[in-house]
Amino acid sequence: MKKLLIITAFGLSFAFAGNVAPADNAQYQKECASCHFGYQPALLNKTSWEKVMGNLSDHFGTDASLGKVESEQILNYLLTNAGSGKITANNSTMQITKSPYFIKEHRKIPAKLIEQKEVSSLANCLACHTTADKGNYSERAIVIPNYGRWE
């Protein structure tokens, strides 16, 4: 029994436990999270963040341009805290939703639950992950609007 527990604990420690460091940088919150959810830096790798920050004047069709100094400071924050491993593996695009791990984790959610106005897009983390703003994406904290808990 003890062995089983140890093996289980060992296995869990390798899995993405659903937690990333919170996006606790005031400047990042001000400049980026004023328009959208403040995605934690660990959700994209360095290459992805460089792409994002390299073209802010056309940021998914919107002008999100910053001054040179702010832009450099935020890029530095993102690169210092960028992700690696499972969540960002095989994804060097600018979108977290293009990560194979992300796609696998969300594959069973019916389209109508994503398309409904309370959610509208898989990019809207906080719509279902009630503690996403704290960097906690654990299954226990998921409540899908007009559906309920997802366990």
Partner: protein, 138 residues
């Protein structure tokens, strides 16, 4: 007695005056100089023209018409919502949100971004001054 009434009325008017803070006044002055340089007939900014810019419908970059009101709504005392992300936007009217139009860098940043998003170009000094004059009076 009359003097006191006059004084009270004056104080009341001053309290209600929709005024920019000092750094914003300097910024408005620089827009004014620029507008005058571009058009010698320029006599001052106008809230009515600003409102017309604010509500005017433009082609939009994503194939759907948009205006400033798409996100900010037509009542600036109310909050709005980002049309792309649904994230709430706090009220633009300084009478409802005292932090608005107080920081020149913020004002310049959002004018640049939002003119580009709605009009697909930056605003002229005249347009920016008119829009700010419209908003400060809300």
């Amino acid at each position: 007695m009359k003097k006191i009434v006059c004084f009270i009325l004056l104080a009341f008017t001053l309290l209600n005056a929709k005024e920019f803070n000092a750094p914003m006044k300097t910024y408005m002055e620089s827009l004014s100089v620029e507008a005058k340089a571009q058009n010698p007939n320029f006599t001052g900014f106008d809230a009515k023209r600003g409102e017309a810019i604010f509500v005017s419908k433009q082609a939009g970059k994503k194939g759907t018409q948009m205006s400033c009101t798409t996100c900010h709504t037509t009542n600036l005392k109310n909050g709005g919502q980002n049309v792309n992300t649904n994230k709430p936007i706090t009220a633009l009217a300084p009478s409802a949100n005292s932090t608005r139009l107080t920081d020149v860098a913020e004002v310049e940043k959002w004018l640049r971004r939002n003119f580009n998003d709605v009009f697909a170009r930056e605003g002229s000094a005249l347009e920016k001054g008119d829009v700010l004059t419209y908003i400060i009076n809300q």
